[in-house]
Amino acid sequence: MADVFDVVVIGAGPAGYVCAIRAAQLGLRTACVESDSYEGGLGGTCLNWGCIPAKALLESAALAQNLKEHGEEMGVRPIDVEYDMGAAVDRSRFISEKLTKGIGFLFKKNGVEHIVGRGRIAAAGKVEVTPAEGDPRIVETKNIVIATGAVMKSFPGFEIDGEKVIGSREALALRNPPEKMVVVGGGYVGVEFADVFNAFGVEVTIVEALDSLVPLADAEIGKTLARSYKKRGMTIRTGTKVKSLDREASPMILTVETDKGEERIETDVVLMAVGRSPMTDGLGLEEAGVEKNGPWVRIDEWCQTSVPGIYAIGDVAGEPMLAHKGSHEGIVAAEKIAGVAHHPMRYDNIPSVGYCHPEVATIGLTEEEAKEAGYEVKVGKYPLTAHGRALTAGHPEGFVKIVADAKYGEVLGVHMIGYNVSELIGEAGMARALESTVEEIAAHPHAHPSMAEAVMEAALAAMDRAIHM
């Protein structure tokens, strides 16, 4: 092989494909190794079996839920909603396919070579690519970027069989929803699927070991979400651990444990949403001398591993395992390789969003974290219960909460739950990126009526100047 690439990216998920495009833009001879199967393919988990199809199903769910809850009062009648999960899944697959094809187009446009197959590190500067059929071959490169992502986790006794016990991959293609479903795990993935299946008429129970839904977010968010879900008829079992599952029984018997003792829950399907493990097996990391940090590849703020010329980005390189974090690492790594890197990765300003209804969006420090970090904290909280835009949308629930530094007014964190708050987190992130204080947010005339006004009101509240409360 006479050809030597500047960069070979292993994996074409949102970290890998973005890295490859950026590297090619910077004039580097770039290849991206990714299989082309239905299971994997360009776009990785995000586009194929994660963010994008999930959001498509959540939109179907929101439409169904809105018609059920608000059709009559909003003057849309008669409402006799029929659910067709199969159609919803077809639509989500169509959107997913459109976007993954788009990546192929972007690769061509930017001159990224897509090498089909599975990649592993053969040695420094050598990537071994194994196609689905045929012999492995070696691709030579000056730099390697590991972007292999992560796979669904499960527990012993709860191994995913694809039918009775499913993961997010199977849930996204579940054309015939069961009567009863238990979602194990109340994090963002769990509450999103619970939302979808509840809206499509499934009797949903969420089992979460910790004391609250979305336990990583601000505590009030978990409470608000649980209240909303209970109103929609879901059963929320926080502080509850799953013990065992009798798959032979019909319906299956799930045994759970709380501090009060064991209980049995009948269910048709168990959906495991207990996190994902980084994909490092069989990559040749040990042989190449690439150090790990727990299950992840250890990197510095420029995404460099312990071996010069080998980078790691995305889910395989550490938490938070979020697409936008991986994409940004991809850009940092590409620019570092090209020698034009401007800013290192900053991990304290990565937004986290749950697309359940009501939506959850957070960034920065929670009130507790800010206090622990030694800040004197001033919280500005604005409830959405009487917010104009939320009322017109039929979703007057939730709040926007700004955690500010009492001394200088710096925006330390923003925590929101409510209608469309996923679209508000960009403002919060920019405010933090630009080191804005609550003064600047409050001083900007936000459009009326919009959900964004709630951010302005929360900023005002942080200065004890809220107008609409």
Binding site: Y408, G409, E410, L434, E435, S436, E439
Partner: protein
């Protein structure tokens, strides 16, 4: 088409400019952006650029001449073009057209006065003529006029700084101009200010208190103040003149541009009063220093412009006169703060001061008790020092250095008499205090000590 080369307004405060040097001569062909001439403004030497290409047809003002903003100083055009109209217009402009704000030559309409941009009625219009300045330059070469923010930025060089960093720097009394920004485009970000604070590099004084000095400072644990509030805490916007004074003087002498005012005060009546008072209130006692603190606080209450701090982009007036009292301790000095002295009587000041000074010497003060003064008094009288200057403790804007009270011959009512005299020297932060305002304050201070009844009025 021929165009005018005008004396552009190159800074918001500029009213006239001196033509230092022509970079072109008549007949030269120029391209847009070519430099035509170098101009001296009230602030700096700057270039005038060609806005259009053409041939320099006429140079109307010679090097060395000073002309008002807006005057036509030359004409660009094509070699064969008729420029007689423009020449006539130019003549008019050079003989007394009011200054215009817009530097765009096409916008200059000669003979068409623009009242809004013209000087205030009380000010004489710029002297006609094209020769050297006919008036001596004013003491401060800037005057407040209407100006656009954009213009100001382009002239003074806006400091790129994040809102949080700006506030932190203000709070720590750091000069933003002295901090290197590491953010995008050299923007000063939070971590840069944190670094500057940690380094101590840009910080003028170790005891400098945070921005909350004054109104936001929690009251200490001593007895509550008496009397109504007399001072109001507020931030004042900076006038162009104030900005200019601050910038220029800082460049001249470092972060806090000091100047000094000295006054000799006749202490006879004050000392007699103190003696009498001490006999009446025994065993309590009022010290000379307590009189000085009281007089300082009273004078501050009557001159709130002295009880203020430079806060970067504004002047912060404090809501109470919190007097720092410099106390010598074994290996240095500390300045306990007598809070709200403007609202306290002499005896209360004496009591609190005695307590603070005693505890200062025993090193028993808590930080709130020695941080955040608004003005300080340093008395070296007991060391037989006639006169000295003290260094300002930022963000305070002034400090009084008090020398010994000594008996000396002075002339009073035409006769030589022996009087007890004390010299005080006030150090002033020129960004906040000017000669005249400092002098007025000192005059009040002196009047109170020379006639202690003044303090009661």
């Amino acid at each position: 088409m021929a165009t005018k080369i005008v004396m552009a307004q190159l800074s918001p405060t500029m009213e006239e400019g001196r033509l230092l040097e022509w970079k072109v001569k008549e007949g030269d062909r120029v391209e847009p952006s070519d430099i035509l001439a170098e101009i001296e403004t009230d602030k700096a030497n700057m270039d005038i650029e060609a806005l259009k290409g053409g041939v320099v047809r006429s140079i109307l003002v010679e090097a060395g001449a000073t002309v008002p903003v807006g005057a036509i100083i030359g004409i660009l055009g094509e070699p064969d073009e008729d420029i007689s109209d423009l020449l006539a217009e130019a003549e008019a402009s050079l003989s007394g057209t009011p200054p215009v704000e817009d530097a765009e030559p096409e916008a200059v309409a000669a003979g068409e006065p623009e009242p809004a941009a013209g000087p205030p009625p009380s000010e004489p219009a710029p002297e006609p003529g094209t020769t050297a300045p006919s008036e001596p330059a004013p003491e401060v070469p800037v005057r407040e006029i209407e100006h656009s923010q954009v213009a100001e930025s382009s002239v003074t060089g806006r400091i790129r700084v994040s809102p949080v960093a700006r506030r932190m720097a203000e709070g720590a009394n750091l000069d933003l101009g002295a901090i290197t920004g590491t953010g995008p485009g050299g923007r000063i970000v939070k971590s840069d200010v944190e670094k500057a604070i940690a380094d101590g590099s840009a910080r003028p004084a170790p005891a400098a208190a945070p921005a909350e000095t004054g109104a936001a400072t929690p009251a200490p644990t001593v007895a509550a103040a008496i009397g109504p509030a007399r001072l109001e805490a507020r931030d004042l916007d900076l006038s162009m003149m104030r900005k200019s004074i601050a910038r220029r003087l800082t460049e001249s002498i470092g972060p806090v541009p000091h100047f000094f005012l000295t006054s000799e005060i006749d202490m006879g009546r004050a000392l007699d009063m103190r003696h009498e008072l001490n006999q009446r209130i025994a065993p309590e006692k009022v010290g000379v220093n307590d009189l000085l603190v009281k007089a300082t606080a009273e004078a501050l209450a009557r001159h709130p412009e002295i009880n203020a701090s430079w806060a970067g982009d504004r002047i912060r007036r404090h809501g109470s006169a919190d007097i720092g009292i410099a106390v010598a301790v074994e290996d240095g000095l500390i300045t306990p703060v007598l809070r709200e002295a403007d609202r306290k009587g002499l005896i209360q000041i004496a009591r609190e001061s005695a307590d603070l000074v005693a505890r200062a010497r025993d090193r028993k003060l808590v930080p709130e008790e020695y941080q955040g003064a608004t003005f300080s008094v340093s008395n070296l009288g007991m060391f037989e020092i006639d006169q000295f200057t003290a260094i300002i403790n930022p963000p305070e804007a002034g400090i009084l250095a008090v020398g010994s009270t000594i008996e000396k011959p002075v002339v009073m009512d035409g006769a030589v008499v022996i009087r007890r005299r004390m010299r005080v020297t006030m150090s002033c932060d020129h960004r906040v205090i000017d000669g005249a305002s400092g002098a007025r304050f000192l005059r009040t201070f002196r009047a109170m000590l020379e006639n202690p009844l003044e303090m009661l009025i």
